[in-house]
């Protein structure tokens, strides 16, 4: 009869407390090449990144995502037919892209949520979003729990959620608060003040002071203009050109640097180590256990290269 906890095997001598040796003094070994080795491997396998945008329609979500990734990642709402109705409920649309830069391949997925906050009665409109996020965790968990696992489990979990706040100049609206309250437990939320060019500097700083967090006040654009002899992304208005990447004009550059250049890996790790683990722990503690899942048995045998 096999038991869950195997009887303790007689372990050999416990390794003693690690002795610290600074090998710089003794000649080059080559341990630091592991960094290069790791870098090569990760570049070869590529990265996944899944970003979700949530906000009422017309706040400039698609434009901002396009600006962030300097490509036509999202189709803008204005390209919809005028005859298309506003969705009755919140829909979840995930579109995957592959982008490459400097030898690094990234599979970027943008998850759009048309219909959020657009109805007259917006009660529980965050629920489809929460459900979607949990479904991705569930998918990952099922893969992880298989006996014959895939070599690389496809990661569809939402790493980052950009929440667009309407630039009303007042404080956060109840819908915003409710959303962030419910979803901050399951996903990394980055609040963003949309269309920040409609707020003056004073209004902006006042708005920010009222929150504890620091929403990024952003402006998005994918059009280029000439400013002082340089071509920059910006928005043209009768009273001037708003430069997207100019920190005096808006905080887009900060957002971009934060999300992409410095904290992208961190966002993924927090999603994996904290949000996913929380979900998993909760799930495994439930009495019901996982419902039967339809696993394609043929797909699960590629763990041996």
């Amino acid at each position: 009869m096999s038991e869950l906890v195997p009887e303790p095997r007689p372990k050999p001598a416990v390794p003693m407390k690690p002795v610290s040796i600074n090998s710089n003094l003794l000649g080059y070994i080559g341990i630091d090449t592991i960094i290069e080795q790791m870098r090569k491997k990760t570049m070869k396998t590529g990265f996944d990144f899944n970003i979700m945008v949530v906000g009422q329609s017309g706040l400039g979500k698609s434009t901002l995502v396009n600006t962030l990734f300097k490509s036509q990642v999202s189709r803008k709402a204005s390209s919809w037919n005028r005859e298309e109705k506003i969705p009755k409920t919140v829909e979840i649309k995930a579109i995957g892209h592959v982008i490459e830069e400097g030898g690094v391949k990234m599979k970027l997925t943008v998850i759009d949520t048309p219909g959020f906050g657009d109805q007259i009665n917006n009660e529980n409109c965050w629920e489809p979003i929460e459900k979607y996020i949990n479904e991705q965790y569930e998918k990952f968990l099922k893969e992880e729990v298989n006996i014959a696992r895939k070599k690389r489990i496809p990661d569809t979990r939402v790493h980052c959620c950009l929440y667009f706040i309407s630039p009303t100049g007042h404080s956060l609206r109840p819908l915003d608060l409710e959303f962030m309250k419910h979803l901050s437990k399951v996903v990394n939320i980055i609040p963003v003040i949309a269309k920040a060019d409609t707020m003056t500097l004073e209004e902006k700083s006042e708005f920010k002071q009222r929150q504890e967090s620091m929403p990024f006040a952003v402006v998005g654009s994918d059009k280029e203009y000439q400013v002082n002899g340089k071509r920059v992304l910006g928005r043209k208005t009768p009273w001037g050109i708003i430069e997207v990447e100019n920190l005096n004009h808006c905080e887009f550059a900060l957002l971009r640097d934060f999300v992409i250049r410095t904290h992208l890996q961190d966002l993924k790790e927090v999603t994996h180590n904290i949000h996913y683990e929380t979900y998993r722990a909760k799930r495994l503690n439930d009495n019901g256990g996982l419902p039967p899942v339809s696993v394609d048995t043929e797909e699960s045998h590629d763990s041996n290269p």
Binding site: I21, S23, I31, L264
Partner: protein, 440 residues
């Protein structure tokens, strides 16, 4: 704006396309986005945490395992040379923290003490296999926990196994073949010829071919240096040809030319460790550390560990699908097992309780017996005491009677005496008178 080359068409894309929409599109970027710093971000994270690397050295006593480790890592690791008297094979693990520029490495070296010393070597491989499995088990346990912390788990799984082949010049020993066969599905084996300075060059070449062909014909799977990535494919391919590496280890330095070099000095010359004409030490260091350390770690995790995990879970009764090809869930089986286990526990507890109660009863009975005996003894003593007392009293009475009699007799005697005295005195007087009278 920077010029960005257009996105490549991807050939080996492993991902499953998304549920909702059309297939993945390749996009071209119109400016520098900045995610090419991703590898750096990833690497920075790992650097701050430090890396683990665990090497297992399998080989006979005295073959040069400790010396080679010292030479590889440019240090004198503390260790006493083992004797040949070990009753069995045991594994000794030692951990060290090495630092080079900003990389911290937690190195663990596991040694097989007593390997090859016994008369009966049938079971020599067992402690090694058990040790490797124990490390996998520890990781699996952590992974199965509900509340787990894998990201700062200290990984003790063996990433590389250096198998030391004795430099006989002939072929592999049967112990070597048996051991390597048992280990090849559990760990990355890199075979090396130890003390290679005892073999002449021409013999060495023959020896290497013999070893490799024996490994192949016996189906031993040694570690393959990866050739799928362009930058390392070439060097790995050229190095593979020289397997098994013939190494010499030394921590002593000898003056060669105008430099000090690690070497072994013989009356007939100096064998330099880092001279590629003399031995393959540099190749080993290159392959083990400078080129493939990360791949060794990855293979351990994605291949050997997964195999162990799969076997272990299947052995424990988990399945992905049951005979009716209705998928089981790990969780349900887990629950069932847990309940079974708890049931066992409860049963055991009951048994122990019963035994305890029985023992108590027995002890109680024993004590009661003892008590009864004591009481009886006490009664006996009491009776004896009473009897003694009576006897003594009887004797006392006798004595008193005797004393009384004596007193009476004494009194009577005294009376008589006094009477006699009186009559005697009278008699004497009479006699005296008579006498006196006779004289007159």
């Amino acid at each position: 704006m920077e010029e960005v080359e257009p996105a490549h068409v991807l050939r080996n894309f492993k991902y499953v396309a998304f549920t909702m929409n059309e297939e993945l599109r390749n996009l071209s970027l119109s400016g520098h986005v900045g995610f090419d710093s991703l590898p750096d971000q990833l690497v920075n994270k790992s650097t701050s945490q430090g890396f683990c690397f665990n090497i297992l050295c399998v080989g006979e006593t005295g073959i040069g395992k400790s010396t080679l480790m010292d030479t590889l890592f440019n240090t004198k690791f503390e260790s006493d040379p083992a004797t040949h008297n070990e009753p069995g094979v045991r594994l000794k693990a030692r951990s060290y923290e090495l630092q080079e520029s900003n990389v911290r490495l937690k190195l663990t070296i596991v040694d097989t003490v007593g390997f090859g010393d016994q008369i009966n070597k049938d079971d020599s491989y067992k402690p090694i296999v058990e040790y490797i499995d124990a490390q996998f088990e520890a990781y699996l346990q952590e992974e199965l926990k509900i509340k787990r912390s894998l990201f700062n788990y200290h990984d003790t799984r063996i990433h590389a196994c250096l198998y030391f082949i004795a430099p006989t010049g002939h072929s592999l020993k049967s112990l070597d073949l048996v051991t390597m066969k048992k280990l090849d599905s559990k760990v990355n084996i890199i075979p090396i010829i130890a003390k290679a300075d005892t073999i002449a060059k021409n013999e060495l070449h023959k020896f290497k071919s013999k070893i490799m062909s024996e490994l192949v014909s016996n189906g031993v799977q040694i570690y393959q240096f990866p050739t799928d990535e362009e930058t390392v494919a070439e060097i790995n391919a050229t190095m593979s040809v020289h397997l098994p590496f013939a190494v010499v280890g030394s921590t002593e330095e000898v003056k060669v030319g105008n430099k000090m070099a690690k070497a072994r000095q013989y009356p007939w010359g100096v064998v330099q460790v880092e001279n590629e004409n003399h031995c393959d030490f540099v190749k080993l260091r290159e392959m083990l550390i400078r080129v493939n350390m990360e791949d060794l770690r990855e293979q351990t995790h994605t291949r050997h560990y997964e195999l162990y995990r799969r076997c272990k879970l299947e052995e424990m009764g988990f399945k992905d699908t049951d005979p009716d090809s209705k998928p089981f869930s790990l969780q349900e089986t887990y629950e069932a097992k847990r309940n079974e286990f708890l049931g066992e526990l409860q049963k055991k507890e009951e048994e122990m309780r019963q035994m305890f109660v029985m023992r108590v009863k027995e002890k109680e009975a024993e004590l009661k017996e003892a008590e009864k005996e004591l009481h009886e003894k006490f009664d006996l003593l009491k009776r004896t005491h009473q009897e003694e007392k009576k006897k003594v009293e009887d004797k006392k009475k006798e004595l008193e009677e005797e004393v009384n009699n004596f007193q009476k007799k004494k009194a009577a005697a005294q009376l008589l005496q006094s009477q006699a005295q009186q009559s005697g005195a009278q008699q004497t007087k009479k006699d005296k008178d008579k006498k006196n009278a006779s004289f007159t």
